[in-house]
């Protein structure tokens, strides 16, 4: 019997487990299906992790190492090469590995930290043949950074998400020719700093409002047909252009890894595709918490860590029977220009001093005001010179904002133009 079981040993799972221990929980188990802890960070050998939390630029593995070390110092138990197959509502966890076999454990509370998966060619509907040489960016990254293999020589990258941008640079440094990066939307998907450091610095062209309509090649990719899209995302007839290449890398989005959550029949958010969570990062199944990319896809790992600490702290409280469930509930509502907000609900009694709202905007905005409303009444306004869907926004609200009146709804919206 464990007090807290953590599914997934990436940055989210590690931070949550450590925080649970710091909150007095002895009996913790972290279950990770890969051969080492650290999650996706192990293949992100580039710099740029930890600026918020450690005030220095670390590589992915370095960032992970700090948490793995701490986990070890605290003596928290973990299992590697172990895949969780099922979680039940009464908090049994079934996992397998080759050493212990098929194992079922009982936990008092569970933290889901399974991360996310990449969208694939099928999900975006690219026609053509099905040759070798089509990779998702994360898979290509794994081949290069963890296994030490090259995936191609003449490369087209579809999608300007961060992994795609980082792979554009990485592949160039490995001697490949990255011919172009294409983005379906009229703006890039990744962080601005990645556009500059990974594309501009290497003279790799980026074409927005462009995509691929078809892949050619019998055995290996021989080329792709590039098309331009109009404002409503339709192919502009006559814009077809063939580009020769031997490799197509897809960086077309990430989706929370939700097999286990779906089996638990927990409520999922249609936009994030992750579970609905409250201020404690607790899902709709009581005592089951979630954090990191399994809830919503993050671009900055520091935010993952902070969010996961909340999950760890509250899972600990839950295991000790100290989590407050009664009291007033505030709902967060994504208003004009906002695609989603996490957390979805806030139980005011559980907030100690502040609550962070994490959200993304629907489109690019310049010189706008982000307005926070409580039951329709403006309580805060933040000026923003630019907002991008690719960059997560965070707004901290003081508990006073929630307690001063009996509010039921907290809305965030974007207002264009001057007041």
């Amino acid at each position: 019997m464990y007090d807290v079981a953590v599914i997934g040993g990436g940055p989210a799972g590690l931070a949550a487990a450590i925080e649970a221990r710091r909150n007095g929980i002895q009996n913790i188990l972290v279950i990770e299906r890969d051969r080492e802890l650290g999650g996706i960070l192990q293949q992100c050998i580039h710099n740029g992790f930890g600026l918020h939390i450690f005030k220095e630029e670390l590589t992915g593995p370095e960032y992970a190492e700090r948490f793995v070390n701490e986990l070890n110092e605290l003596g928290i138990e973990y299992k590697l090469d172990s895949m969780v197959l099922e979680i039940t509502k009464d908090k049994k966890v079934h996992y397998v590995n080759s050493k212990d076999g098929f194992v079922s454990i009982q936990a008092k509370s569970i933290i889901l930290a399974m991360g996310c998966r990449e969208r694939t060619r099928g999900a975006i509907g690219v026609a053509g043949t099905r040759p070798a040489g089509v990779f998702t960016a994360g898979t290509a990254q794994r081949y290069l950074n963890m296994e030490g293999y090259m995936v191609g020589k003449k490369i087209v990258i579809l999608g300007s998400g961060d992994i795609g941008l980082i792979m554009a640079r990485r592949l160039t440094l490995e001697g490949a020719e990255v011919k172009i990066v294409l983005e379906r939307m009229p703006y890039p998907g990744g962080l601005t700093r990645n556009i500059v450091q990974c594309l501009n610095d290497y003279n790799i062209p980026l074409k927005v409002s462009h995509t691929i309509s078809s892949i050619k090649g019998k055995d290996r990719v021989e080329g792709v047909t590039i098309v331009q899209l109009d404002e409503s995302g339709r192919i502009i007839p006559g814009s077809e252009q063939f580009m020769e290449c031997d490799t197509l890398i897809l960086s077309v989005g990430l989706i929370p890894e939700n097999e286990l959550s779906e089996k638990l029949e927990m409520r999922l958010d249609k936009v994030t595709k992750g579970p609905y969570v409250n201020e404690a990062m607790e899902t709709s199944v009581s005592g089951i918490f979630a954090c990191g990319n399994v809830v919503h896809v993050h671009d900055i790992v520091d935010y993952v860590t902070e969010e996961s600490r909340i999950a760890g702290r509250n899972a600990a409280k839950y295991a000790k029977g100290e989590l407050k469930t009664e009291g007033r509930l505030v709902e967060t509502v994504p208003g004009n220009g906002i695609s989603y907000i996490v957390p979805h609900t806030i139980r005011v009694n559980n907030i100690e001093n502040k609550v962070d709202l994490l959200m993304r905007v629907r489109q690019v905005f310049h010189d706008v005001r982000m307005i926070i409303k409580a039951d329709g009444e403006k309580i805060r306004e933040i000026k923003k010179s630019h907002l991008l869907p690719g960059e997560m926004e965070r707004v901290s609200l003081d508990i006073k904002a929630l307690t001063c009146k009996n509010i039921a709804k907290l809305e965030v919206e974007i207002c264009e133009g001057e007041e």
Partner: protein
């Protein structure tokens, strides 16, 4: 020297090989590709039709009706998934209701008993997600679904277990006949045989024309599909056809044996027998056409699309006969739909034919109709899972996170007779890479296992065809 050389290791070639392996014969199955079931057999609707569709009196009708009931026992013997899920042919107006009645009559004429015309009121209870505009349907409870490549792989394995030689990467380029013997030129040398059975799919005319007069011509007719994720799996429980009209046969929506949904195919005559491209326009057509049967198909859950080539002969029926001018050459050509459904009966028919030509064959005493059971980890109960891992720890290592396939299953698929040697070969046999991430997670791991088990450099591991290299070298640091 072989008694029988079978050209083509699709469902037809492998089935005939397996049925002939009951006899004391030296048999080889040749395929130009590097695995079995890599042509039409890997890309079709996977339906075991009942047989109301084909014209009475044709071989198609006869062999389909005979073939359908044979699947239960063959799939039992070979441990292959098969489900009788039933089918509905939908009519959307009075005219189409008339066509349904014709289909029904044809079915009865073809010898079927278990088919029914059902009225609008009954439709929703049979299939809740059907469009309200459906006016009625022809219901055939005996219609089944199967994994066509799994069956072909199992047949090949069982044939090899019973002494058949499987010669892959062996393309037939010329055939000569002198005296009583065929000399078959292949990319792997000359092979001699007393009989040739031509099961070369869309290329069957080409094989025939190497030694015989041009009796027939095969036209490839392309069909495109979507595959939807398992999470859409409860969209339909039966095979949903549309009533054939002047405009064509309509597209299908159906479940697969593994719980995905297939939507397609369209139909398009093309020139190039290698053309396996999907196209935006055609897929869009499939999408719109399918919505007629089921309005809310979640196409956002599409995980991949694919194309199949029908091998269509002019006269519209299967061609299964000894060549008139070249004795000993048996053509099994024009095997378009319902070729898969008819395949067990086609195999028996061919065996009968060749036995008659030869004046019988001696039976083997030790023919084994069974294939070694396949361990499918995820289908086992908790106790069996634990037991299996205890005996072989590699069944405790999950390689494919979507389909939950273990290392043990992959290693087994590689080492069986007619085993997997490519990434897609593993995928077709045990499914890693078939799921929603389409191999993003498991392919590096499967490649590692393939390289280790086959004692090859990982750089040599291919996706599917011989030239489909995945990795192009090592990185600077390595």
């Amino acid at each position: 020297m072989y008694d029988v050389v079978i050209v083509g290791a699709g469902i037809i070639g492998t089935f005939i090989a397996r049925e002939l392996s009951r006899y004391k014969l030296k048999i080889a199955v040749l395929d130009k590709l590097n695995d079995v079931a890599c042509a039409t057999t890997k890309a079709n609707s996977a339906i075991i039709h009942c047989g109301y569709d084909a014209k009475p009196g044709t071989l198609k009708a006869k062999l389909n009706v005979l073939g359908n009931p044979m699947f239960d026992s063959i799939c039992e013997e070979l441990d292959v998934h098969f489900k009788r899920v039933g089918s509905l042919v939908l009519a959307f107006n009075d005219e189409e209701m008339n066509t349904l009645n014709e289909l029904y009559q044809r079915g009865i004429q073809n010898g079927l008993k278990n088919i029914y015309v059902v009225e609008k009121e009954q439709l929703k209870s049979l299939e809740p997600n059907l469009s309200d505009s459906a006016a009625g349907a022809l219901y055939a409870p005996d219609c089944g679904i199967i994994g066509p490549f799994e069956l072909a792989v199992a047949l090949a394995e069982n044939a090899v277990e019973n002494g058949v030689e499987l010669l892959l990467n062996t393309e037939v380029s010329a055939i000569e006949k002198n005296d009583e013997l065929f000399k078959v030129q292949t990319t792997a040398g000359v092979i001699k045989a007393r009989y040739i059975i031509n099961c070369a799919g869309v290329h069957a005319d080409h094989i025939n024309n190497m030694v015989s007069k041009e009796w027939f011509k095969i036209t490839p007719r392309r069909g495109q599909y979507f595959v939807l994720d398992k999470s859409a799996g409860d969209l339909v429980s039966k095979v949903i056809f549309q009533c054939p009209t002047k405009m064509g046969k309509g597209v299908l929506v159906l479940p697969t044996v593994h719980g995905n949904i297939l939507v397609g195919p369209d139909s398009e005559d093309i020139e190039d027998k290698q053309n396996l491209e999907t196209t935006m326009e055609r897929l869009e057509h499939v999408r719109t056409a399918a919505m007629k049967s089921i309005q809310n198909i979640p196409f956002d859950k599409s995980i991949t699309s694919f194309t199949g080539l029908r091998a269509s002969a002019e006269k519209g029926d299967f061609i299964i006969e000894e060549s008139n001018d070249v004795k000993g050459l048996i053509n099994v050509a024009g095997i378009e739909s319902p070729g898969l459904s008819a395949s067990p009966a086609i195999a028996q028919y061919v065996v009968q034919l060749i036995k008659e030509i030869n004046g019988g064959f001696a039976e083997k005493e030790d023919f084994n109709p069974h294939r070694k059971k396949v361990m499918r980890f995820i289908e086992l109960g908790d106790k069996e899972k634990a037991e299996l891992i205890k005996n072989d720890p590699s069944y405790g290592r999950i390689i494919c996170r979507c389909e939950l396939i273990t290392e043990g299953e992959i290693v087994d698929a590689i080492h069986r007779k007619a085993g997997a040697a490519t990434l897609d070969g593993v995928k077709r046999r045990v499914r890693p890479g078939m799921g929603r991430c389409q191999g993003g997670f498991c392919s590096p791991r499967v490649m590692e296992i393939l390289a280790r088990e086959l004692n090859k450099d990982i750089l040599e591991i291919v996706k599917d065809s011989r030239a489909s290299k995945i990795l192009t070298g090592i990185t600077k640091e390595q």
